[in-house]
């Protein structure tokens, strides 16, 4: 574990802030505020309180203490050489946000926003959640700080991520399944906004990603940039140089912005965002917003989104609930348009191959969201034939979360364990992948744990090694 000399707390929120957004929350042509007037006062209050808070030494000290003592920061960097054998010979380093308390990067942002909630004197927080990681993080922070907490979660997602629903309830949060629209993250956000506009006097909306109206994209970025600030220092310390590329999955895009921000000024470092390609961008069943979408307005900001010719949001599709979102944060749209970051789509199948590979080669079960970034690293490493100029390529992947919540989905995908036939529409992709070859990562020597799965169900792993 590397415990490198990361930036001191004073620098953590304030060093090298990007020149965007402007004072009204615009990242180039993206961002801004597209919300009912009723919310403007609350957004102004948040903006003002946040600006005061982020330079307040007492806040910075409290935030740093919580990150260290509660979250467990800094998160380590782990090199994964056996995994990297499948990445064209590149070296692969993981930034281990999966080791944070609550199991993902989401806690970074939530602790900041929970402190802000107390600062503005509100007693109740609401949140939207897709995979449940942000909901769990918010419920955690609410429990820690004595706030009442309501989490909106698409009904489909409450089924896909039942473990996280149980976690939130154990933490004392109220979880409201959302039954409107596509019953996923997009609709959970709509319901959370409706709650907020109704209860704004008492309630703060703890937004989970770098999307939404100003100041959320800027504020959430600032709370998440600790990932990249740490990682940049850690990689410099252990390698004496910067990585050639930084890769992260992108749904709304908070973990990606978190790891990218410190590297944005480093022009030699490629920034690669991996979007959820679902069944494939050309099938129309995907969540690759920048790759397959167009600019428009959704959930309070201008950004790329998946929309039809009438401007209606198209329902997204991904095996990963946390990436199953038809929008994306405006800063990503800006980074794309100015050419500073590149965005690629990773299909469900590619992500699950990388998922299995990391499990089997490194003993790390990643979140399926993060597996998209791993698949991107495999692809990029192979494209580079493992080299950048005359040296071995060095890829930094943000492992944004751990995969405990995805065990059931993965078991179904690979035909492991005893599960009934999927019945939900969103399990269609899983069904299609039932019994699929988990991919080249499976070790020829790997045997299923005795008794864990019956022999006839564990075929995929044993037969798959030939391509490794």
């Amino acid at each position: 574990m590397t415990t490198s000399a990361v930036s001191p707390p004073m620098d953590r929120l304030e060093p090298a802030r990007p020149s965007w957004p402007d004072a009204t929350g615009h990242f180039g042509v993206f961002g801004g505020r597209f919300v009912p007037e009723a919310l403007i006062a609350a957004l102004d209050e948040l903006t003002e309180a946040y600006r005061a808070m982020r330079v307040d030494p007492a806040f910075l000290e409290e935030f740093a203490r919580l990150q260290r003592d509660y979250t467990g920061r800094p998160s380590p960097i782990t090199e994964v050489p056996r995994f990297a054998e499948h990445a064209g010979g590149a070296r692969v380093l993981l930034k281990r946000e999966d080791l944070n308390h609550t199991g993902s990067h989401k806690i970074n942002n939530v602790l900041g926003q929970a402190l802000l909630t107390k600062r503005i004197g509100k007693q109740r927080v609401i949140a939207e959640t897709g995979a449940g990681q942000h909901g769990v993080a918010t419920a955690t922070a609410a429990a820690l700080m004595g706030l009442s907490c309501t989490v909106y979660m698409g009904e489909e997602d409450t089924r896909r991520q039942a473990l996280n629903v149980a976690r939130m309830r154990l933490l004392g949060a109220e979880v409201i399944p959302v039954t409107t629209g596509s019953r996923t993250l997009k609709d959970a956000i709509n319901e959370a906004f409706r709650d907020w506009v109704t209860n704004v006097e008492t309630t703060n909306y703890v937004f989970g990603t770098v999307a939404g109206p100003h100041p959320f994209p800027e504020m959430v970025r600032d709370f998440q940039r600790v990932i990249g600030d740490e990682a940049r220092a850690q990689v410099l310390e252990r390698e004496g140089r910067l990585p050639d590329a930084v890769l992260a999955c992108v749904g709304g895009g908070s973990n990606a912005i978190g790891v990218f921000t410190a590297f944005v000024p480093d022009e030699g470092v490629r920034l690669v965002g991996l979007e959820a390609g679902g069944d494939g961008v050309d099938t129309g069943r995907h969540a690759a917003t920048i790759t397959g979408g167009t600019p428009g307005v959704l959930h309070g900001a201008r950004s790329y989104l998946l929309q039809d010719e009438n401007g209606q949001t198209i329902e997204s599709h991904s095996i990963s609930a946390g990436l199953d979102y038809p929008g994306v944060g405006p800063e990503h749209s800006h980074l794309h348009d100015i050419g500073r970051a590149e965005y690629r789509a990773v299909t469900d199948a590619e992500a699950m191959e990388a998922f299995a590979l990391l499990c089997r080669t490194e003993g790390i079960i990643p979140a399926i969201e993060s597996a998209h970034a791993l698949a991107g690293a495999m692809e990029l490493g192979r494209e580079l034939a493992g080299r950048v100029e005359d040296r071995q390529a060095l890829l930094l992947v943000n492992l944004s979360g751990r995969g405990d919540k995805d065990v059931e989905t993965a078991s179904r995908w690979f035909g492991l364990g005893e599960h009934g036939a999927p019945t939900d529409e969103d399990d269609r992709a899983v069904e299609a992948g039932r019994g699929a070859d988990p991919g080249p990562g499976l070790d020829t020597d790997q045997q299923p744990t005795e008794g864990a799965v019956s022999n006839d169900q564990a075929v995929a792993g044993q037969d798959a090694g030939g391509t490794a």
């Binding site: 505020r33 597209f34 009723a38 403007i40 428009g296 307005v297 009438n310 209606q312």
Partner: protein, 265 residues
């Protein structure tokens, strides 16, 4: 010339508030929704808010969501909206489009303004567009001589009331309460306070009140302090309940008495 200001002014000259009815295009289908709008006009609505269906109506409560959802799924688009605008104008009322911003942006802001003016529309109400983000729309509306209606809310500061009303033409939409659309048992008393504050900064602009008005009694109450009474969910409820254009007509007739200060028999 502002069609909305003219119409609301004419109502005021009669000593009453204007009745503004919201109905979404495409529920239960496009033709039936247009028939409902015409029915509302024929029974006393002065202005029809022609609603553009949208997949993510963040300001709307369950009633309107329930109606627009099938319209969105049926692919109802701006062409259908413009057809409804023409029909309302032909029926003798003033059509104003009510749209979340993305459908307008997707259609093209300039093209929307041009086509809306050609169809006889007065302008547009934009519930999730604040004047600060509306530069392109304000320019296009000005060029096409269209009204632009923004919202104020009980939470709006006086500074925002001033800047928002300054950007409005036609009227300003005062959201009576903090919350989403939907019928409520009582009109919030924050409504009158908001109207008073709004008038203080914009004495020449009509102030119309929406959110939560559903019957003649509430319409009469709002008409006592506002220039116009906006009713949405109660109309939509008629269609959801299967009462059809007849139900819309009956409701409209009651509300028309309400805005005249009368109670239905």
């Amino acid at each position: 010339m502002s069609l909305l200001a003219t119409t609301i002014g004419a109502a005021r000259a009669e000593g009453r508030a204007a009745l503004i009815a919201y109905l979404p295009v495409g529920y239960p289908d496009v033709d039936a929704s247009i028939a409902a709008m015409v029915g509302a006009v024929e029974t006393g609505a002065d202005v029809i808010e022609v609603g553009v269906p949208y997949s993510d109506p963040g300001m709307d409560g369950p009633v309107i969501q329930q109606a627009v959802d099938p319209a969105v799924r049926a692919g109802v688009g701006m062409r259908d909206v413009l057809r409804a605008v023409e029909a309302v104008a032909a029926a003798g009322a003033v059509p104003v489009v009510m749209s979340y911003w993305n459908p307008v942006e997707r259609y093209g802001v300039q093209r929307f303004a041009t086509d809306l003016a050609a169809a006889g529309g007065a302008g547009a109400i934009t519930p999730d567009l604040i004047p600060e983000e509306a530069g392109e729309w304000l320019a296009a509306a000005e060029a096409a001589d269209l009204d632009r209606v923004f919202l104020v809310a009980p939470s709006s500061t006086d500074a925002r009331l001033r800047s928002t009303t300054a950007a409005c033409r036609g009227f300003v939409y005062a959201a009576s309460t903090m919350g989403t659309t939907g019928t409520r048992a009582a009109v919030s008393d924050t409504a009158e306070a908001l109207v008073t504050r709004t008038r203080a900064v914009a004495p020449d602009l009509s102030v119309c009140v929406g959110l939560g008005v559903s019957n003649a009694e509430q319409a009469a109450e709002v008409a006592s302090f506002a220039d116009g009474v906006i009713v949405g969910s109660a109309y939509v409820r008629q269609l959801l309940d299967g009462a059809g254009p007849a139900g819309v007509r009956a409701l409209s007739a009651q509300l028309a008495e309400g805005v005249r200060g009368g109670m239905p028999a």
